[in-house]
C-alpha cells in the first residue's frame, strides 16, 4: 500500500513541549517489521489519539513508550528522558509519573476492587489507612463504582473492570495517562461517561493523555491531536477534523470505515479459488 502524504497542518511540532517524543523508531517482532521510522509526539496537557487498523502495532507503541520493550533503532523520550539511557530503577521512578489503562483492565484477581485501587498508594506512600480509604473512595466515586468496593474482580463485568482499572490508573494523580483501547466492550452509558472523564481529567488536572484506539468517532470527540498509524508509519496526523477531511485514500477509508480502498481487509494469501481447488484435489 502506498503511504499517503501526512496531513501536516496543525500537527504537533513543538518537541520541547512533548511529554512523549518518539523519533525514527524501528521495531520488528519475529522478523516482521512493525515500525519503520515511526515518529510522533504527545504534547503536555493535550489528548493525543493514536488510531489505526488492528495489527498495526498500537499496543506495541504503548509498550515502547512505557519502556516494556526497547526499539531496535531510534529514540523514545518520556518527560525529556531518553528511555534507552535509563536503568530499571530510573524507569520505575519514571513510571510513578504515569498511569496506564490496560485493554483488559489487568486487575489483580486476588484483591478486592478497593484493594486494587489502593495497591499503588500502599506501595508508594506512607499514608494512613484513613487517608488511603478516602482517596480510594473518591476515585471509585469518580468512575461510579464506590458501591462495588468490596467486590472481587471476578464479580465484575468487563466494562466495570475497565472502570476500576481507570480508578487505579488515576489514584496516584499521574502526569501522563495512557489508555489502551479504553472503549472496547463498553455500553453506551459507560462509554459516554469514560469519554467525559478523560476530557475532564485532561481539562481540570492538565493530565497529558495518549489514547490508543480504533474507535474513530469516539476519539474525534475528545482528541486534540491525532495520528493515524499504518504499515509501520504515521500515515496522517493533525486534528480529528483534519483527518476526517483528508483526501488521502487510506485516511479516508479508515475514517469512514469503508471496505473499498488501499487498506486490504484480507491478510495476504494465495489465490482463493486455486487454493480451494488444490485442497479438493488433495
Amino acid at each position: 500500500m502506498a503511504v499517503p502524504a501526512p496531513v501536516t497542518a496543525g500537527a504537533p511540532d513543538a518537541a520541547s513541549e512533548a511529554v512523549v517524543d518518539v523519533r525514527d523508531v524501528h521495531y520488528s517482532i519475529g522478523g516482521r517489521e512493525i515500525f519503520a521510522g515511526l515518529s510522533l509526539q504527545a504534547r503536555r496537557g493535550r489528548i493525543t489519539a493514536v488510531m489505526g487498523p488492528s495489527g498495526t502495532g498500537k499496543t506495541t507503541l504503548l509498550r515502547l513508550i512505557t519502556a516494556q520493550i526497547r526499539p531496535e533503532r531510534g529514540t523514545v523520550r518520556v518527560f525529556g528522558e531518553d528511555l534507552a539511557a535509563l536503568n530499571s530503577r530510573a524507569i520505575y521512578q519514571l513510571r510513578q509519573r504515569m498511569g496506564m489503562l490496560f485493554q483488559n483492565g489487568a486487575l489483580l484477581t486476588d484483591l478486592s476492587v478497593f484493594e486494587n485501587v489502593a495497591f499503588p498508594v500502599r506501595e508508594h506512600t506512607d499514608l494512613t489507612e484513613g487517608l488511603i480509604r478516602k482517596l480510594v473512595l473518591v476515585k471509585l466515586q469518580a468512575v461510579g463504582l464506590r458501591g462495588a468496593a468490596a467486590l472481587l474482580p471476578a464479580e465484575l463485568s468487563g466494562g466495570m473492570a475497565r472502570r476500576v482499572a481507570l480508578a487505579r490508573a488515576i489514584v496516584m494523580d499521574p502526569e501522563l495517562l495512557i489508555y489502551d483501547e479504553p472503549f472496547v466492550g463498553l455500553d453506551p452509558i459507560s462509554l459516554g461517561f469514560i469519554l467525559r472523564l478523560i476530557k475532564q481529567m485532561n481539562a481540570a488536572l492538565g493530565i497529558t493523555s495518549i489514547v490508543v484506539s480504533h474507535d474513530v468517532q469516539e476519539l474525534a470527540t475528545i482528541a486534540d491531536d491525532s495520528y493515524l498509524l499504518s504499515e509501520g508509519h504515521i500515515a496522517a496526523s493533525g486534528t480529528p477534523a483534519q483527518l476526517r477531511d483528508s483526501g488521502a485514500p487510506a485516511v479516508r477509508q479508515f475514517m469512514t470505515g469503508s471496505a473499498e480502498g488501499p487498506v486490504g481487509f484480507h491478510y495476504p494469501a494465495p489465490d482463493y479459488l486455486s487454493q480451494l481447488l488444490k485442497e479438493d484435489d488433495a
Binding site: Q68, Y92, R95, M100, F102, A106, L108, T109, F119, P120
Partner: protein
C-alpha cells in the same frame, strides 16, 4: 546466534540453566524486601503449606504402613523384626520423608504456583504491576519462593511423624512387635546427623521446587497452552532435580 527453535537440546538445556540461575540471583535480591512484608509471606506459607497438608498426611500414613509391612516381612526372615523401629526411623527421616514430600510438593504446590503466576502473566497483571512501578519479582515471586522454602521442612516433618505412626501401626499393633523395643530401637538408631540430613534435604528440595515453579510461571508463554506447558515442565524438572539432589546430598552426608 542460533535461535532457540533451531538450537540443539543441549544448547537449549544450557540456556535454561542460565535463565534459571540469573532468575535465582534476581529473586534472592528481592527476598530481603519480601521478608519485610510478613502478611504476604504468611499468606504464601498458608497457600503452599497448609493447603498441601491433607495429601502429605495421607501419603505419610500409607508410606509408613507400607514401610512397616515390607520392613517386617524382610526383617522377620532373619529373625530381626525388632529392628523395624530403626529401619522405619532412619528410612523415613533421611530418605522417604524429604523426597516424597518434595515430589508431592512439586505436584501439588509447585503446579499451583506455576499456573497462578503464569495466568497473572497472561492476564497482564504482572505488566500492570511493572507499570505501577512495583517489581513483580518482589511482590509476587519472592514471597512465593520464600513461602515454599519455609513450608517444605514443616511438611516433611509432618510426613515423617505420620509415617512413623503408620509404621508403628503395622509393626506394633498388627505384627505385635513389642512397643518398647520398637521405640527404643528407633531412639538408639536415629542420630542428630540423620535429623540434620532430613532438614537440609527438605530445605534444599523446597528451594529447588519453589525456584522452578516460580521461574516457569514467570516465564510462561501468555497463552492457555503456554501455562499448561509451564506447569508440566515444573513437575518434570522438579522431580528430576529432587532425585538428583537427593543422590548428591545422601553422598555428602555418608
Amino acid at each position: 546466534m542460533p535461535s532457540s527453535a533451531s538450537a540443539g537440546p543441549l544448547l537449549e538445556g544450557v540456556r535454561r540453566v542460565g535463565s534459571v540461575s540469573l532468575f535465582f540471583v534476581r529473586l534472592l535480591l528481592q527476598c530481603v524486601p519480601a521478608l519485610a512484608r510478613p502478611r504476604l509471606l504468611i499468606a504464601q506459607i498458608y497457600n503452599t503449606g497448609s493447603r498441601s497438608l491433607i495429601i502429605i498426611m495421607l501419603s505419610g500414613l500409607f508410606v509408613g504402613m507400607v514401610l512397616g509391612l515390607q520392613g517386617y516381612d524382610l526383617l522377620q526372615r532373619f529373625g530381626s523384626e525388632d529392628f523395624l523401629g530403626s529401619a522405619a526411623g532412619v528410612g523415613l527421616l533421611t530418605e522417604l520423608g524429604p523426597v516424597i514430600t518434595a515430589l508431592l510438593f512439586a505436584g501439588r504446590a509447585g503446579t499451583a504456583l506455576t499456573s497462578e503466576i503464569g495466568l497473572m502473566r497472561a492476564t497482564d497483571q504482572l505488566t500492570a504491576m511493572e507499570m505501577m512501578a512495583v517489581d513483580p519479582l518482589r511482590y509476587v515471586a519472592a514471597p512465593r519462593f520464600l513461602g515454599g522454602i519455609i513450608a517444605m521442612p514443616l511438611l516433611s516433618a509432618i510426613f515423617c511423624l505420620i509415617g512413623l505412626y503408620g509404621a508403628q501401626l503395622i509393626g506394633v499393633q498388627l505384627m505385635r512387635i513389642d512397643p518398647g523395643v520398637f521405640w527404643s530401637q528407633m531412639q538408639g538408631s536415629v542420630t542428630h546427623r540423620n535429623v540434620t540430613e532430613s532438614v537440609v534435604k527438605s530445605l534444599v528440595f523446597g528451594s529447588a521446587c519453589s525456584l522452578i515453579a516460580v521461574h516457569e510461571g514467570y516465564h510462561a508463554e501468555p497463552t492457555a497452552a503456554g501455562v499448561g506447558l509451564a506447569t508440566t515442565r515444573t513437575v518434570v524438572a522438579s522431580s528430576v532435580l529432587i532425585l538428583l539432589l537427593d543422590y548428591v546430598l545422601t553422598a555428602a552426608f555418608l
